[in-house]
């Protein structure tokens, strides 16, 4: 196991994942370098969220073969929380609701889990308000119960708030754009762009070209039926927008036989 794999911070090789004995991912290979933005596109049910969940270590997803390395660590050996503390982050397509737990107290605990020494309450407050302002969120969200009764768009914004506070090294955004209004989309994209550039690598899962107009991807990958069938530059996304997935679906089906 090499400590660093060239420039790549996340390296996925031939990953096979099944749920309830049904194989969903059938050999995914993907590399995301430090500071790069990759887009992952593909039809409904092709396995994009499965990849995201498996990378984060969801217990329902069985990895039957393949390797995942992140910053040189064998990710598959680690628990979900260890992956998070290493700097992996997933902005969920459907964030869980945790009634009774306030956004601020949750985030402070999560931040402390990433830090060597605890952040003071005052310092945390300042940090949180800063980030909320950057995302133009009403400060009263800080004292609301985590995702409990949040609208779809509020949940998505809250995911990005967590991204901004926790400052991971690799963020997977699973359809963060769906459910966001146009203004929110721009704000979220600005937020990501601001965090980008430095170290942050991003894997954006999306159905729409629109988000990619704001967050320009270095690479675009197309997933069909549990495999990455094509990769290219940002023009690939534009082509998909125009042509749809039919072309790939046909080729994937022919591969099957």
């Amino acid at each position: 196991m090499s400590a660093t794999n060239g420039q790549s911070t996340l390296s996925i090789r031939d990953l096979h994942v099944s749920v309830d004995d049904a194989e969903i991912l059938r050999g995914v290979t993907l590399e995301v370098g430090a500071g790069e933005v990759h887009a992952l596109m593909g039809p409904n049910g092709s396995g994009k969220s499965t990849l995201a969940n498996a990378l984060m270590g969801h217990p329902a997803y069985d990895v039957s073969a393949g390797q995942v390395h992140f910053k040189g660590h064998d990710v598959l050996e680690l628990e979900t929380d260890e992956r998070a503390r290493l700097g992996l982050f997933l902005a969920f397509q459907y964030p869980a609701e945790i009634p009774g737990v306030r956004v601020a107290s949750f985030l402070r605990m999560a931040l402390n889990a990433r830090r060597e020494s605890e952040i003071s309450v005052m310092e945390f407050r300042r940090l949180l308000l800063d980030k909320m302002q950057m995302l133009r969120m009403d400060p009263k969200f800080a004292s609301r119960y985590l995702n409990d009764g949040f609208s779809g768009g509020e949940k998505k914004r809250n995911e990005i708030l967590q991204l901004a506070v926790l400052e991971p090294e690799l963020a997977i955004l699973d359809e963060t754009d769906s459910g966001l209004d146009i203004d929110a989309l721009r704000i979220v994209a600005d937020g990501v762009n601001r965090l980008r550039g430095s170290e942050l690598g991003v894997l954006v899962i999306t159905h729409y070209q629109r988000l990619l107009n704001y967050i320009e991807p270095d690479r675009v990958h197309v997933m069909i039926d549990g495999r990455v069938v094509e990769s290219g530059g940002k023009e690939l996304a534009e082509r998909l927008e125009a042509e749809g997935y039919e072309r790939f679906a046909a080729s994937a089906a022919s591969e099957e036989t």
Binding site: G57, A60, D81, A84, R85, F89, I98, M109, A113, R114
Partner: protein, 468 residues
Amino acid sequence: MAVKDIDQVGLDTYKFGFHDDIQPVYTSPKGLSESVVREISRQKDEPAWMLDFRLEALRQFERKPMPTWGADLSRIDFDDIHYYIRPQDRQARSWDDVPEDIKSTFDKLGIPEAERKFLAGVGAQYDSEVVYHSIRDDLEEQGVIFLDMDSGLREHEDVVREYFGTVIPNGDNKFAALNSAVWSGGSFVYVPEGVRVEIPLQAYFRINAENMGQFERTLIIVEPGAYVHYVEGCTAPVYATDSLHSAVVEIIVKEGGRCRYTTIQNWSTDVFNLVTKRAVAYRDATMEWVDGNLGSKVTMKYPAVYLMEPGAHGEVLSIAFAGEDQHQDAGAKMVHAAPDTSSLITSKSISRKGGRTAYRGYVQVMPEAERCRSNVECDALLIDDRSRSDTYPYMDIEESDVAIQHEATVSKVSDQQLFYLMSRGLTQEQAMAMVVSGFIEPIVKELPMEYAVEMNRLIELQMEGSIG
């Protein structure tokens, strides 16, 4: 191996160094009899009517059957209990005898040294007199009485005699009868008309061995338009000598008055905790019970409010937490005896490691108690598959023009919630504790600040090692 508080016990007791079998000096013999009851009353130099009350209660106790429902009480051996230990003799235990898990919980909660000894039954007196004095001066100026029950009886005999045993008669149930026969300690609180006591009265401020007895008796009288919040217990584990705790709490809230009574109970896990709590609320009065049951082997406790006149309102907010070998049978009782009365019961229970919780509630609406409203919500959270929760809602509605609602849920901590929290770096235990504290938050936020903080810390501790 230092022995604490030697001078209070007398060196004689210690000269052999046999810490394990030190016997308190003035302790009633084990078992219950008329002579034990007479001796308790004599030691306290009580008026004759109180002795009569006790003796009548003893007869009731002997006649009453054990409850046949609720938790298994067959392991209580009434002959193997000391019914009275003089408070000054209670400390005769060495710190070395206190179980390790209790010591380490004190550590983790950061309980100050002086309190630890007291809570563990080692120190006799928790030195809070200084704090308490200034509070007491303020109270006295307002005419508020806040005393231990024995002093209350001595100093305010007329008031005590007027109310004592009127809300919970000495033969109400077997354990109330037992308490009535052998009671010792507890609090006596009297709030004069129109007086609002702004700070919560905490039994904790002047805890002493007497107050934390196994058979304490509390009487609170709230005169018209007055308000008081009384807080008893603490989140730190209390290590008891005897395995039976059977308290009685009686509260009278007069017209337009309001009383909130908050209990946090964390007895060590060998204790049977069988408590009778009842309040009567008159016109437009409000009575609120906030009740947290964390420790003990068995708890059976159903705080009650009798809504006697129109406009009276009763509430019970309770949390029960059952771990390994624990059975928390808790609930509430609301009796609507007058029209236009309302009640609210919110119960939250958590079971883990095979623990058992039950909500047992009773809502009664008497004939002609029109336009009553009652709302019951009980939610149970199961941490694992071995644990259990039951709901026993009894309703006895003899009036048709009423609005009664009952809602019960049983849920489990979902994988999705745990995964979400862990994906942000929380360990599985932290994630579990977070979901649990969120679950009880609606009640915890009603607790005084320092209790709320300790409560959450305690939930975290309880969750340690509870996974897998």
